[in-house]
Symmetry: C2
Subunit: 326 residues, 2 copies
DNA sequence: CCGGTCTAGTGTAACGTTTTACCGGCCGGA
DNA sequence: TCCGGCCGGTAAAACGTTACACTAGACCGG
């Protein structure tokens, strides 16, 4: 089924068929209707490869994520894929597995496949030059100078946690923060530290994958007078809860825990985890919308990037004990 | 950077460049080396769109999954993507979100993008005719007549669970099985039921997404003399553990629980879940390899489908109480 | 009645590959 | 010496689409 067949069947030229299908104005009512009818009757679908070659557009975007086993990302991927599909865009997935080399390989593959744009949650401090093919890039969650980015208001999240902690009477806390080289982790921390007027008993930096190192386990054992441990994300928080349980420390009776992200598991763990919910679905959808804008000409965009920030909300559950006297 | 530029730089014809790059035999040592050298120096990458148009091959495959929020699938996606990338294949992701309509839409999008083949974990009892473009299909986890499929040995998994349950002295169990219309769920159940010589006190069928309905909650409350609840997958098992905890039933003291899949969370939950591990990475990798075979001509393949089955293993943790007298 | 401006539609040249058909030598055998 | 193959390489025709340059006719004001 090519445009030629449709043209023949409709008794018009291929150019006219193309004009109809691309809703160009230079074709009359009658012919237009006829072409539309015939092409749908024949079940004609334009050959994307040929379109791509001619126009340089593939109507496919790349989605580059650092780690699908972190439950935050599947949810994001779902949102991205579903809104992209709604726009007729295919999504090519790359999971860099946290490796800069994997990310580079994936980006190379995507550029070779000539995706129209790339939505990326970068693993490192800068994007490999590879993808600088003038292709639009939208970052998710991790800002990088010069790129558009959409993410949750991590500062606000940190502040909400801090205020809640104070309200619940906690004056001395431990921190199991995320990696220092990831801005979102720094902002979560900064938001908390800036708004928390109590004391920080200790702080350990961990990876977002939630594996506790020896220092973290030691800190949870000593506790250093902390009544609450504030975690860089839910994975860390859940690992911490498990570690505390193994140490025979009751949560929240003996130690309170707060997370960040509100992944699904926060609701299944015992006790259920108090955390910060970010609107993952909206974030993914917005990233695709921004991409779509950039693909449609769109010259009037913020020159060097621009941020889209979504508000977050505190989800109060049972992992924080109320120490405040009524 | 086109083949024309390379040809000009090397002082040969475009045909020769193409012949070199596609390792055809009709070109001599000297020229071959020169072309290779020049093309890599110029950083030439063939335009996939043009290749696709000429050859009808895109070097992209579709991956259609039912639900990325079920942790089994991200792990699978990771394996598929990484081995596909190793083979130079791009992966276009579709998450049908459990909806047949989503699956159909996704498949339509993939066919329009002319992916070379489709790896799919189908949501329904048969694949929409849409994708029957003669395109190779490899199924994962859920067999369908006429298609190749790769999955874990669910029967064996069920048997392992049954034998372990008996060994631990459980003679009366409840079943929270998966959906009856999914073969993998039926096999898990069949394996268990076939090998378990004790009594089945009750059985409830649930979705694989792990949400408990009223019947399930009621059953967990009554317990009907069961000392162990055998779950269709880990999601169900973890939900069940949470429900039992809320009912004040201790796991494993008062009630034992077993899952299936060995998703990451089984190791973080309290108590850690005894379950069946399937080699997700191998399954995903193998699916891609099968696909690759089918893409390379490969006429000598099992005519109508064929199965590849991977062994599973029991992962013993702390969610099952030992009732057997020593 | 004529020149100019629309409207509706056509012909065709690209886009970057692969592949088929072809061709000029060179070599070996008769 | 002549002929038939083989080796190494080339020219050019596709693949299906879009977009540019055009034209035939209609319409309109002067």
């Amino acid at each position: 089924m090519t445009v030629k067949d449709v043209a023949a069947a409709a008794g018009v030229s291929v150019a006219t068929v193309s004009n109809v299908l691309n809703r160009r104005p230079n074709v009359g009512h009658a012919i237009r209707a006829k072409v539309l009818r015939i092409s749908s009757r024949l079940g004609y679908r334009p050959n994307r490869a040929a379109q791509a070659m001619r126009t340089g557009r593939t109507r496919a975007i790349g989605l580059v994520l650092p780690d699908l086993t972190n439950p935050f990302f599947p949810e994001l991927a779902q949102a991205v894929e579903s809104t992209a599909r709604g726009l007729g865009l295919a999504v090519c997935l790359v999971d860099s597995q946290g490796e800069a080399s994997g990310e580079a390989d994936g980006l190379a593959l995507l550029t070779q496949h000539a995706v129209d744009g790339i939505i990326c949650c970068p693993v490192g401090a800068r994007l490999p030059a590879q993808l600088r093919g003038g292709r639009p890039v939208v970052l998710i969650d991790r800002p990088l100078p010069g790129y558009a980015v959409v993410h949750a208001n991590y500062l606000m999240g940190g502040e909400l946690l801090a205020r809640y902690a104070l309200r619940m009477g906690h004056r001395r806390v431990g921190l199991l923060s995320g990696p220092t080289d990831i801005e979102s982790a720094r902002q979560r921390r900064a938001g908390f530290v800036g708004a928390f007027t109590g004391q920080i008993a200790w702080e350990i930096h961990l990876g977002f994958d939630g594996v506790l190192n020896a220092a973290a386990r030691a800190a949870l054992k000593q506790r250093g007078g902390a009544t609450l441990v504030v975690c860089g994300n839910d994975l860390i928080a859940i690992s911490a809860m498990r570690c505390l349980a193994e140490l025979g420390v009751g949560v929240p009776q003996d130690m309170s825990v707060m997370g960040f992200d509100n992944i699904r598991w926060t609701d299944l763990v015992m006790p259920r985890l108090t955390t910060i919910a970010q609107p993952v679905g909206h974030i993914g959808a917005r990233a695709v919308q921004l991409m779509q804008q950039r693909l449609d000409g769109a010259a009037d965009l913020p020159p060097r990037g621009g941020r889209t920030v979504f508000d977050v909300a505190l989800i109060e559950r049972e992992s924080v004990r109320n120490l405040a006297h009524k």
